[in-house]
Symmetry: C2
Subunit: 410 residues, 2 copies
């Protein structure tokens, strides 16, 4: 009857009934006909999306590169090259440490560009720095570590990750020569997390004396240094200072990332580990970056494309920094910290309330952080802005700077 009503063949109706029964929408019992299954409920109401925060007109949040600088064409070509010569098993389930091609090329790049002393077997890839920190903390905890010294000020999410991994955070003060070593000595920490190339957010570099002292502390106490080399490739006033890692590879976890040099969205980072921590890290991994991104980065590094990209980005960011410094000097606002990276620390005159400047900036469509965002609660700090100059695209940078000037005129 249904077939006649619908003007289709009997076979079609039978097939549809069988399919609906197989999928559980209908129930058929011998002798009692076919019914709609009671469990075939209507799908849930769609979830209400959280209302998105209004996007600021100009974004000076630190730590994010210009997304328009991603070398899209070269990346596509590198993927094509990688796929042309890929060993088929690389597309299967893989070595948790990462694809051998990338680990090999990274070991050689890091030795050449950052002075890291390592070999491919000690390189582990992960989906970005935060994930690498998470892995390192879990691995250190598994070997008995309980307390991690961390620079103050620092990035709040890093504090969360360390605490979630079960480590107690010991705040360490930072001055213009980097983390203060006497605080490390007094901390009874099992490991410390530092940003030797460019302290975030204060912008200092760890001095030669303190590098030596930190390594001496680690070797004497059996401690560990986690080196966050997030900005190591972006030094503007001189040849970049090499990584600390080579001073004591057995006491260091070196962490790097493609988030600044290429794009955070890639979710690609790497750890260089002491031999005995490799298995500990692998044991706590339960997700891995995609093989294609890894093979593409390997091809991009091999072709020299990565070096060209870093050189180009260095030039762009250096010009932006110079323009920012000049614009602020005209308002007699000093920029402190070394000429490096994607952010600058701008000291505000005494008596100016940092929060008010941040709120005024927001009123002008500028997203910007005060130093307070990165300072432990309850700790005092001089009023300052942390200006990230990476994110605004080139075409908007002049306007963004002018707008910042307007805000700071007040």
């Amino acid at each position: 009857m249904l077939a006649r009503d619908l003007g289709v063949s009997r076979g079609t109706v039978v097939e549809v009934y069988e399919q609906l029964i197989a999928e559980g929408y209908l129930t058929a019992r011998q002798g009692s006909g076919t019914e709609v299954a009671r469990s075939a409920v209507a799908p849930a109401q769609p979830r209400a999306e959280p209302t998105a925060e209004p996007t600021p007109r100009f974004d000076f949040h630190p730590g994010v590169p210009d997304p328009t600088s991603f070398p899209a064409d070269q990346w596509v070509r590198a993927l094509r090259r990688a796929l042309r010569s890929v060993r088929p098993e690389r597309l299967g389930y893989q070595d948790p440490r990462g694809t051998p091609e990338l680990r090999f090329v990274l070991a050689s790049y890091l030795a050449r560009a950052r002075g890291v002393a390592t070999s491919p077997e000690l390189v582990v890839t992960c989906s970005g720095f935060v994930r690498g920190l998470d892995l390192a903390c879990h691995a250190l905890r598994a070997t008995g570590a309980r307390r991690l010294g961390m620079e103050n000020p620092t990035i709040p999410i890093h504090l969360e990750v360390v605490a979630a991994a079960g480590l107690e955070v010991v705040p360490l003060e930072v001055d213009e020569h980097g983390v203060r070593i006497e605080m490390v000595e007094a901390s009874r920490a099992d490991a410390v997390l530092v940003t030797p190339a460019h302290q975030f957010p204060l912008g200092s570099t760890l001095s030669p004396e303190r590098r030596t002292a930190l390594v001496e502390w680690a070797t004497r106490t059996g401690g560990f240094v986690i080196e966050d080399d997030y900005d190591g490739e972006f030094r503007y006033d001189r040849q970049p200072v090499g990584a600390m890692q080579a001073l004591a590879p057995e006491h260091e976890v070196y962490a790097g990332t493609a988030s600044k040099s290429l794009a955070p969205g890639l979710r690609l980072g790497w750890l260089v580990l002491p031999d005995h921590l490799v298995d500990e890290v692998v044991a706590v991994m339960e997700s891995f970056p995609g093989a294609l991104d890894q093979l593409t980065l390997a091809a991009f590094l091999t072709s020299g494309g990565y070096d060209r990209q870093v050189r180009h980005a260095r030039l762009v960011y250096r010009r932006r920094r110079d323009r920012l410094v000049a614009a602020l000097l005209r308002r007699r606002l000093p920029v402190t910290g070394i000429a490096a990276g994607l952010h600058a620390l701008v000291e505000l005159p005494g008596g100016v309330a940092e929060e008010e400047v941040v709120a005024r900036a927001a009123g002008h469509g500028l997203a910007i952080d005060g130093l307070g965002t990165f300072t432990a609660p309850g700790q005092r700090h001089a009023p300052a802005l942390v200006v990230g100059y990476g994110r605004p695209p080139d075409h908007a940078f002049t306007t963004a700077l002018a707008r910042l000037g307007t805000v700071l005129r007040g």
Copy 2:
């Protein structure tokens, strides 16, 4: 003096000294000259690589697709399309649930191809099924779940992941109609993990009655069903049976993956969640698939390339299955389970020791699993082989089959 000895300018030597001091290799003190830093130790000896297992000549391990079937050229084109129209912020730090483009396209694909009732806000991407299972278990545990019913036999790594997430595993027996519902009822489990489309490894499909009964159990007890739809796209004898998820979206976690349809190396999977579990899952995520792979998959789905790939793969694997079944029938070995997926269960005659056949196969360069690999320790099972026919490339399949025939002749 050094400059003269080396025949270089004084400036070069001074610069090198400054660099070495800055990097901590030399220490310079006023009045006492420059010395090699005591901490500048030699790098560690390279770690010995574990000796790799010899690669089998022909690999019949189940659960792995033919890596040579990856649509490399189309994937590169999809990446190029995706990058041409990408919104720059997609390359920045992203929504932990995944890129909106992919979640939108996945919701629509899953509705169309698998009958899943969902919307983009309830889709979360992750790096493969195992990672998705890990997330689901952690989220369920956070909402109070303690016991997870799991099919026996099943995949050992799944057992490990569930236990590591703090859930107690309750084994559930499986017959030719899928998991036995009376065991679910008796299990006092808070949730069950099932493979309704194609039980792994026994190869049954969950019957309509049991689908209804399982959903009834979940709604009555407030329980959850985790649906592992790993093989849902690969049915050969009829239209694929849709996912169970639409029967009770509020009580289901649906899990899919690109590992079988594209490549495991992509590390891309997806969960479809009930509304109240989305935030729980996001809270336990700490790593995310790369944005480029997600955007590329979205472009690949939108263009219809993914559907073409699945149709093509279905044809290839169906032919392989037919050939395998025919070859085994000639040896009077029955293949059980539905015509689907990438593996077949081959019952061995009574009295034949499974382990001996597996060992004999290894002697002939064939990697193959016995059913025992997937059975809980101590549980009895009829001797059988789990033959994965996905992995050997097309050009080697005839030889691989012939070799398997030789092994089974004994």
